[in-house]
């Protein structure tokens, strides 16, 4: 059958372990994907050194979206930081809002109303659905199947409508504030949400038929882009990427936050750790989120009550010295905020730990070696990275 040479010897290494790549030999070609490149996930770039169709070395270049959030947050008060954190990750901004709010609440000792916890969980799951839908479109698109992106973006847009009526904005919701959430569910929200969830399930059924039960798609993704077991820890792999490798690691289950200990679910896991499995894990995780939203809507307090705890006057809010780390399971993996306070009205230091940070940098650079250049885009998408959370 097909000729499958052992590629582990390539590219050749020098005695000191560095890659033996001589650009002047004419054997290698430097190839930049991005930042202006449709195959790149957002505004970043990868510098590939290819030999024929095979990648000998890949380097991720980020910083195109760097705004210096961690610096900016040091000169904004605790409340002023709440609108800016969501900008750190565009497709799934809510985790920033939640992690930041939770870190602040923990250090300031604020007890959030239970209702707010439910609404927060609802928003996070809605955001997760959006993020996954975008991923599915991107994954199929990276392989040339445009129609999936059309369908998934359509249903994502329906979900954005739900976001809009709940939070007052489509993309940057700015709804989860330190202290709670801004408001209760609007009237009739549950019905409309149920309708949207139905649409999403329909779309997913189609996507399953057209994308996952697809000979060409399988051909392109099965066995490609495998994350080896020993890389999982050394490269800080989290989220669907680690679950696709068969490790049932899900912060929602391991260290339950918000109301996840009151919901019934099991982490979705896969087996093969290749692109296909990761896509499949995400698809099933999406369905899990649909189910979780139903659970949340049926179990949360049905009446309207306060959704915000009383905070000090936000204009002069000071927090005692302390440090903490708050994490959540976002669609891409572990999302966390490390917050240090020093008793002043401003954070001393905020560090955002986005899953893309490890995935797109060290892990991707490791995985791209020996990869066919036609697979690079698909591989990058399958790690589901969002550049803004790498560089902040």
């Amino acid at each position: 059958m097909a000729y499958t040479p052992d590629r582990s010897q390539y590219p050749q290494k020098k005695a000191d372990g560095s890659l033996d790549i001589d650009l002047t030999s004419g054997k290698y070609l430097k190839l930049w994907q991005g930042p202006q490149h449709p195959g790149i996930t957002g505004n970043m770039s990868i510098e590939l050194t290819v030999c024929g169709d095979e990648v000998a070395e890949g380097r991720t270049h980020v910083g195109y979206l760097h705004r210096g959030f961690e610096k900016l947050m040091e000169r904004r008060t605790f409340i002023q930081n709440f609108p800016i954190v969501c900008r750190i990750c565009v497709p799934e901004p809510d985790f920033n809002e939640y992690c930041y709010a939770a870190a602040v609440e923990e250090l300031a000792g604020i007890e959030v109303p239970e209702r707010a916890d439910w609404i927060r969980a609802l928003i996070l799951e809605m955001g997760r659905i959006n993020s996954y839908l975008m991923y599915l479109g991107g994954q199929a698109g990276a392989l040339g199947q445009a129609v999936i992106g059309q369908w998934s973006t359509y249903v994502r847009d329906l979900m954005l409508d739900r976001f809009e009526e709940l939070t007052g904005a489509r993309i940057y919701h700015m709804f989860i504030m330190p202290g709670g959430v801004r408001d209760n569910l609007p009237t009739g929200f549950r019905t409309r949400m149920e309708h949207t969830l139905g649409e999403i399930e329909n779309a997913l059924r189609d996507i399953h038929n057209v994308m996952f039960r697809n000979a060409v798609f399988e051909k392109r993704t099965r066995g490609i882009g495998v994350i080896e077991k020993e890389w999982l820890d050394s490269y800080g792999v989290t989220g669907p990427c680690i679950r696709a490798a068969g490790v049932p690691r899900d912060v929602r289950k391991d260290q339950p936050y918000l109301v996840y200990d009151q919901l019934d679910f099991d982490p979705v896991i896969g087996k093969d750790s290749d692109i296909y499995t990761r896509a499949d894990v995400r698809r099933r995780d999406l369905l899990l989120s649909v189910d979780l939203i139903r659970q949340i809507l049926s179990r949360m307090p049905q009446d309207d009550g306060p959704t915000m705890a009383t905070t000090p006057n936000v204009l002069h809010w000071k927090i005692e010295p302390g440090e903490t780390y708050v994490r959540g399971e976002c669609s891409r993996g572990e999302y966390g905020y490390y917050l240090v306070t020093d008793g002043s009205g401003y954070p001393r230091r905020v560090n955002v730990r986005g899953p893309s940070y490890t995935h797109a940098m060290a892990l991707f650079e490791r995985m791209v070696v020996n990869c066919n250049i036609a697979d690079v885009a698909a591989l990058l998408v399958s790690l589901h990275t969002y550049p803004p959370e790498i560089e902040r």
């Binding site: 910083g63 900016l72 820890d233 050394s234 800080g236 260290q255 780390y325 230091r349 060290a362 892990l363």
Partner: protein, 177 residues
Amino acid sequence: MIELYEQLKQRYALGEISVQRFDLVFITVPRENLASLLLYLRDTEGFTHLVLLTAVDWIEDNKFQLTYLINNRESATDLGLRVIIDRDEASMESIHDLWPTAATYQRELKEMFGIDFPGSPRIDEDFILEGWTEIPPYRRDFDTLEYSRDTYLERPGRSTSDPAQHMKQLFYPEDKD
């Protein structure tokens, strides 16, 4: 977690411990113990996941605090190791041989705080910034607003009044103070 601390204390010189949550503890560690402690925690105690590595600038004390946050996936607990290093000529041993992914964190720290990690791969390469000439931007003594004002011009024509000052102008302008 406290048991672990007590147990570690037998073997390593440890600084203060602060318990933030039942599953999150921060321990101050002398810098020379860090690498062996990390190795021990990773291989023996199951703290296999390097969550993050970052720095805090305590400019008042002329110190940097490096925070190594590691996570035990089995017991779902987090351990933050604080290492205090001098702010001048800041430098720290690299741990990229323990976690390859640490190289990225170290590159960022080098660029954003100016903390050197000799031997870490590509440590001197530009990471996020490009052609940066000022002091590393995450240091507390770098004033981003001032830099931004000097470098990127604002759209002119804005002015604001303080209500109290404005009312003073209107109602009792003669008052000196």
